[in-house]
């Protein structure tokens, strides 16, 4: 046999095995990291048809989230405001600004503005906004610091693991119901103290409000 295969081929099986292991690990590692929403979703920032800035409206001007997203406490769906909502202010403010041309046109003709969807869970997930925001979960937990974004970007992965992290320990996130839309609110500026207070009050809220934070399939999948 040595006529056919040179000596170095004796080491080949081992090399192949090691090589396969390395490549296999790299593939698994790659998929693990790159094929999850943490990588594929976070940071997604499409350009919207109207350059609406949350940083200006929610951050600088301090308009409450619910002024525009008015159905968030009533429906599973947090509505994108109609163009006429924009015009409530903009028929006074910046009323001839060219950046608002599309809004003015939409409000007068009724033709919708085609906003690009940023946050989306799959169709088989029945996420409900109303039950979260009325029971102490702030917008910031899923959407990030929207009040600092000029163009909205996808801040959190919104994967099933992300949901379950919170559902397994709601006390770490739950806050007083009047602070839901105050995205910068903290128990304390001191991070250590804040964590301590959050844990203490969170557990109290979970107990008092009978927060179920369901982890069974039927909570989200129907």
């Amino acid at each position: 046999m040595s006529d056919i295969f040179p000596k170095w081929t004796n080491r080949l099986p081992g090399q192949i095995l090691v090589g396969a292991l390395l490549v296999g690990s790299a593939v698994i590692g790659g998929v693990w990291y790159y094929a999850t929403p943490k990588y594929t979703r976070v940071g997604y920032q499409p350009i919207q048809p109207v350059s609406f800035s949350h940083a200006t409206h929610a951050g600088q001007l301090g308009i409450d989230c619910r002024y525009c997203h008015s159905a968030v406490e009533k429906s599973w769906y947090s509505n994108i405001p109609s163009s006429s909502t924009c015009m409530n202010c903009h028929n006074q403010v910046l009323k001839d600004d060219p950046r608002l041309a599309l809004v003015r046109e939409s409000a007068s003709t009724g033709k919708p503005i085609p906003w690009v969807q940023v946050h989306k869970v799959p169709d088989y997930v029945y996420f409900n906004h109303s039950v979260h925001v009325t029971r102490g979960i702030s917008c910031v937990e899923c959407h990030g610091s929207i009040d600092k974004m000029d163009e909205v970007s996808h801040a959190k992965p919104l994967s099933m693991a992300f949901c379950l992290d919170c559902h397994r320990d709601p006390a770490a996130k739950i806050r007083p119901p009047d602070k839901i839309t105050d995205l910068n609110w903290k128990w304390s500026e001191d991070p250590v103290k804040n964590a301590e207070l959050q844990k203490q009050h969170g557990a109290q809220f979970v107990h008092d409000w009978k927060v179920e934070s369901l982890q069974s399939c039927s909570a989200c999948h129907r």
Binding site: S82, S216, C217, H221
Partner: protein, 1120 residues
């Protein structure tokens, strides 16, 4: 501790309950067939395409799909959100809205509440606020929502088959109006369906006043007007000579007040008008908590096997022509015992003669009725002639039923001619223009009128119809009618209450509302249907602000106090005597001279809902046949005709193809032996074999109208049945999932119940040894997931706020099947087609099991809704390799569709056989493929002129469905329920979407507080909400005061297959029959009970050592 799997107890001798003739005959082939989990070939491809061919095509498909997938699968689709430019008031996206409306049907309208999801109606329910109605609907109403989205409905105005613009049609109507005005209506005839709408009646009168020479005719293929006509003849005023309106009397049968009910060929629990209301009343009398509670008794005289007969305590099986004689003899006897209406006795004796064979039955029945004077009721059916109705009313009058169990509501109906009168007019050439509203006479007119050619004798035929059907095709101008959920109209319920017909959506196509059509055609000044209805409403003299009254009317869905006051009238013997003269004595039926019964089908009505897939696939509650009608015969008739009925070949049920000949006309169909049919009677269901239906209804069943005589619409004598050689494959759900003779349905007579109130719990099979642990409790085979403690030491059972459970009362369930259609609509359940049903692949999450007990000739019928039992120790969960079916802490056995890989192990291990598998992508299959083949390749076909592969690539959701189907049928889907795809197992979820919505609503309401428990009665599952009898109750078992807890605490409560210790969350309340000991057919115990005893079983005692305790709290104790 390890438990040994319990062996199934073998029946010792013969079957206990039988569900089909095959099972009764217990043939070896049948045994082999039922013992297989899925019958031979159910999981296999048996198409012309071979397995290898399939693989070849699939491989090629995958290759191409893979290449395309590189581009399509990996890209992130960019989706747009399109908010309103200007938001409408009171609309929140994602929150369904509810509107009160009503469904007009023949001479009545049924009050409804319709759900609108983001602007599209998706579900209708009975209006529970309507006085005297607890909600609940019938199958026709439940399924009517699908008609709205039928891609085969009439879309455009057509002239001689060519599409015209709507405006052109409107111009044509205006021209007609001008012509009519100049001739004052001469030569114009209207043919309409029956209607209860005051607005339509008003327009009719206005038109006839304007055009005095015009004539109006009404036709219904299945007509319930005989009820109103008979009540008028018996109690009401004489028809006045004035033209226009005629007085009628609407008899409102108050079954809830009746303790003794006799039906004379009246299927009050099935095919009679407004059966949902009648079932509700009947169920009221059958509901009982304790043995001492009053229980009504039902006597049924009938020739077909119907739900009414199946639920009756005493059933008399007679040929239809004998019913008048029985009515006469019964009337005689009741009049004699009560001493009322003496002058009617002797005229009756001329008719009563042939009833002598059933003398004792009738006499004892009459005695029982007379003993319950004031609380008994006799109802005659629509198939019986006026004389039988009058005899029934004579009995009612003698029994003092008028004003108690029988309310007489005087109404006005338009005076109209009949179809034969119109035919005569046409034949004389006196009709120039024929206007047909809704009715489909070319299909449904009696055969001897030869309507298709008769109709052509009019110069112009104008038609308004929902479908471009037989009549639409034969008309010169066809106008598409709007669905009732697209229309403004009004109507009157059976008791005369005014109800609105309110649209939930603008007409989807070029539809014209009936009122608008009439107004334009007659050139009336107001043509808006809305304005017409409002004008009619104004005529109601109402106190207060008319605008507020109108708003309240639309909000409530009825006008309070608008029903006419019931009249207390005396019976007119003269009317009875004169009607008796019209009866001819029956000739005895024989195998050579059979009697024929034409009846309203339990699914497609008289044919109007023939193109409705939900109804086509709904098994008939008695025959369990789908997708067609059969020629019903009794066993004896079949024997006399030497018909060998059942043959099974290649897993297909095959029956003889027969020809039914009546008066020189014939129709061919498949023969079927129906246990309990009257001998020498042929039952022919109307509504199938349409000449022009849609993609769903085409080629289903035979057309019984082809031999229907004009003189006698519902029964005829002298028919022959000829056997033709070929065998016809039938699809039935009857033999599927037979449960091999265990006490699945438990029942007893009232006397037995009084003796042993806990009989249902003691009615067990011989229990195999080794099922019980040391404490004497049944040991579950699988660990109960609700008892496994979590990290906090608390079990899910203790942690959960609710424990969902259901109780089904078999005493009030009559088997109407409304639950099945409601479930189908609520849960996006697809239809699969006849071919797939024959492979046991129907998808209904809830089914109605129908068992028989006793003789084949005249058996007792037992019905049981069967759905996922939500076992706590669920066998299905333990065998799932991917954890796709698991428990939630509130006791729901949930399916995570995305995890399911389709092993079907769960279905294999389910003792109740309630899991359904998507063998094919039913939701994406075009309707024309319902007939097969069920695998097609996207490589070789194109749809709408586009290669299927391209289509699929463009929109994988739509798949290969044609655009019209896809765009319409997706609108009927409930957005809160996932639409399942191929390869996924599914089953009843307890309407988890409704549960979660209610829980969320309660939590939102609670806010930062702890009152998150959903109040009892807030959640109604779809089946519960549709159930007219209130047999299904869902609720929280953790609350001892909830309705479901109280029902489960009753002594009749039992668990199906209890010895398996699966701890189902659904329990049943045993059925109690109430036979009369004096009757000749009295038996001490029900047939099924006797058969159970016959197997050597004895009533055991339940308690600590035996059986499952009733309530949830007790259950919990037992499990620890």
């Amino acid at each position: 501790m390890k438990t040994i799997p319990p062996p199934c107890p073998e029946p010792e001798s013969g079957p206990q309950y039988w569900r089909s003739l095959e099972q009764l005959s217990d043939s070896p082939q049948f045994r082999q067939w039922v013992e297989r989990e899925f019958p031979h070939g159910a999981g296999e491809m048996s198409d012309p395409h071979s397995r290898r061919h399939f693989m070849r095509i699939m491989a090629a498909s995958f290759l191409l799909a893979g290449a395309g997938g590189m581009g399509s699968g990996c890209r992130r689709p960019e989706e747009k959100i399109l908010p309103f430019g200007k938001a409408p008031e009171n609309y929140i996206h994602g929150v369904p809205q509810y509107f009160a409306t009503s469904r007009p049907s023949r001479g009545t309208a049924f009050p409804l509440v319709a759900r609108s999801n983001d602007g599209r109606p998706t579900k209708v329910e009975g209006n529970a606020q309507f006085p005297g109605q607890a909600g609940g609907t019938d199958v026709y109403t439940q399924a009517s929502i699908l008609d709205l989205y039928d891609p085969d409905r009439s879309l455009k105005v057509t002239q001689a088959g060519n599409t015209r613009k709507r405006e052109a049609g409107i111009d044509f109507l205006a021209e007609l109006a001008r012509k009519g005005q100049s001739s004052l209506g001469a030569g114009i005839a209207f043919l309409s369906d029956r209607s209860s709408s005051p607005s339509r009646h008003r327009l009719q009168s206005e038109i006839l006043a304007k055009w005095p020479a015009a004539r109006w005719f009404e036709h219904e293929a299945v007509d319930f007007e005989v009820h109103r006509e008979a009540a008028r003849a018996a109690f009401g005023p004489d028809p006045s000579g004035a033209t226009g309106m005629r007085p009628v009397v609407s008899p409102v049968y108050r079954l809830e007040k009746a303790s003794r009910i006799v039906t004379l060929d009246a299927d009050i629990l099935g095919s009679e008008e407004e059966s949902a209301r009648l079932i509700q009343g009947y169920a009221h009398g059958r509901r009982l908590e304790k043995p001492t509670d009053p229980l009504s008794r039902l006597y049924a005289v009938e020739s077909l096997m119907t739900l009414t007969g199946g639920n009756a305590d005493h059933r008399l099986r007679v040929v239809p022509s004998l019913v008048p004689a029985i009515a006469a003899r019964l009337a005689q006897e009741v009049l004699r015992v009560t001493g009322a209406l003496g002058e009617a006795v002797s005229p009756l004796s001329g008719v009563a003669g042939p009833a002598s064979a059933h003398e004792k039955w009738i006499v004892e029945c009459a005695k029982d009725l007379a003993a319950h004077k004031g609380s008994s009721l006799v109802v005659a059916g629509y198939r019986q002639p006026l004389a039988v109705h009058l005899m029934a009313h004579a009995i009612n009058a003698a029994l003092g039923a008028v004003g108690t169990t029988l309310e007489l509501r005087p109404l006005m109906a338009p005076a109209s001619g009949s179809l034969p009168e119109l035919a005569a007019l046409l034949n004389r050439g006196q009709v120039d223009t024929l206007v047909i509203l809704n009715d489909n006479p070319v299909y449904s007119a009696p055969a001897d009128l030869d309507w298709a050619s008769t109709q052509r004798k009019a110069k112009t035929v104008v038609r308004l119809g929902f479908y471009q059907d037989e009549t639409g095709l034969a008309a010169d101008w066809h106008f598409p009618a709007t669905h009732y959920l697209e229309s403004w109209s009004d109507g009157r319920t059976a008791d005369g209450t005014l109800v609105p017909v309110q649209p939930l959506i603008a007409p989807l196509f070029d539809g014209v509302m009936e009122l608008e059509f009439l107004a334009r055609l007659a050139g009336l000044p107001v043509t808006s249907a809305y304005e017409i209805v409002r004008t009619t409403f104004k005529a109601q003299s109402l106190a207060g602000d008319p605008e507020q009254a109108w708003k309240k009317f639309l909000h409530d869905g009825y006008l309070e106090g608008s029903a006419p006051k019931p009249v207390a009238a005396s019976f007119k013997v003269s009317a009875l005597v004169s009607s008796l003269a019209s009866l001819t004595p029956p000739a005895p039926a024989s195998a050579e001279k059979l009697e024929v019964v034409f009846f309203r089908d339990s699914r497609v009505d008289d044919g109007r809902q023939n193109n409705n897939g939900w109804l086509q696939e709904l098994p008939d509650p008695v025959t369990k046949m789908v997708w067609e009608n059969v020629v019903l015969l009794s066993q004896k008739t079949a024997d006399d005709l030497k018909l060998q009925i059942v043959d099974r070949e290649d897993n297909n049920l095959r029956v003889p193809w027969v020809r039914v000949i009546l008066a020189g006309r014939n129709v061919e169909g498949p023969a079927w032996i129906q246990p309990g049919m009257a001998d020498h009677t042929v039952g022919l269901a109307l509504g199938y074999g349409r000449g022009k239906a849609g993609r769903v209804g085409q080629n289903t069943g035979y057309n019984a109208y082809k031999i229907r005589p004009a003189g006698s619409l519902h029964r005829a004598a002298g028919a022959q049945v000829q056997f033709l050689e070929n065998l016809h494959p039938l699809s039935t759900t009857q033999n599927h999932w037979a449960m091999e003779g265990r006490p699945i349905v438990r029942e007893a007579n009232l006397e037995q119940f009084k003796e042993r109130p806990d009989f249902a719990k003691g009615m067990n099979m011989h229990e195999p040894p080794g099922l019980r642990g040391k404490d004497g409790q049944l040991e579950p085979l699988y660990q109960n997931p609700l008892d496994i403690p979590g990290p906090d030491g608390k079990s899910p059972r203790d942690r959960a706020t609710h424990a969902w459970g259901m109780s089904i009362d078999l005493n009030t369930c009559v088997g109407c099947s409304a639950c099945m259609i409601a479930c189908q609509g609520e849960n996006n359940i697809p239809i699969v087609g006849k071919n797939q049903v024959s492979r046991n692949r129907e998808m209904h999450w809830i089914r109605l099991d129908r068992y028989y007990a006793g003789e084949v000739a005249d058996p007792q019928m037992i019905l049981q809704p069967m759905l996922c039992q939500h076992c706590e120790s669920a066998p299905c969960e333990n065998v799932c390799p991917v954890n796709a079916t698991v428990h939630d802490e509130e006791g729901l056995n949930v399916m995570a569709y995305n995890r399911c890989v389709g092993t079907r192990y769960c279905s294999n291990n389910c003792p109740y056989k309630v899991r359904r598998f998507n063998y094919v992508d039913y939701n994406r299959r075009p309707l024309h493929l319902l007939a097969g083949p069920f695998y097609t390749t996207p490589l070789l076909h194109s749809t709408d002129g586009e290669w299927d592969l391209i289509r699929w690539w463009k929109n994988p959701d739509r798949g290969i469905r044609p655009d019209d189907e896809w765009e319409l049928l997706k609108l009927v889907k409930n957005p809160d329920v996932t639409v399942r795809m191929r390869g996924v197992m599914e089953k009843c979820t307890f309407c988890v979407q409704r549960i979660e919505q209610a829980k969320i609503a309660q939590k939102v309401k609670a806010g930062p507080q702890g009152n998150i428990e959903v109040p009892d009665g807030t959640i109604k599952t779809a089946c519960e909400q549709a159930c007219p009898s209130g047999a299904i109750v869902f609720g929280n078992m953790k609350d001892p005061n909830s309705r479901v807890s109280k029902l489960k605490a009753q002594q009749r409560d039992y668990t199906v297959l209890e010895f398996l210790a699966t701890k189902p969350r659904i329990t049943y309340l045993a059925k109690i029959r109430n036979p009369n000991p004096a009757m000749p057919d009295y038996a001490k115990s029900p047939g099924s009970f006797k058969e159970w005893e016959g197997m050597g079983n004895k009533l055991g005692h339940h308690g600590a050592a035996h059986g499952t305790p009733g309530g949830y709290a007790a259950d919990k104790k037992g499990a620890h």
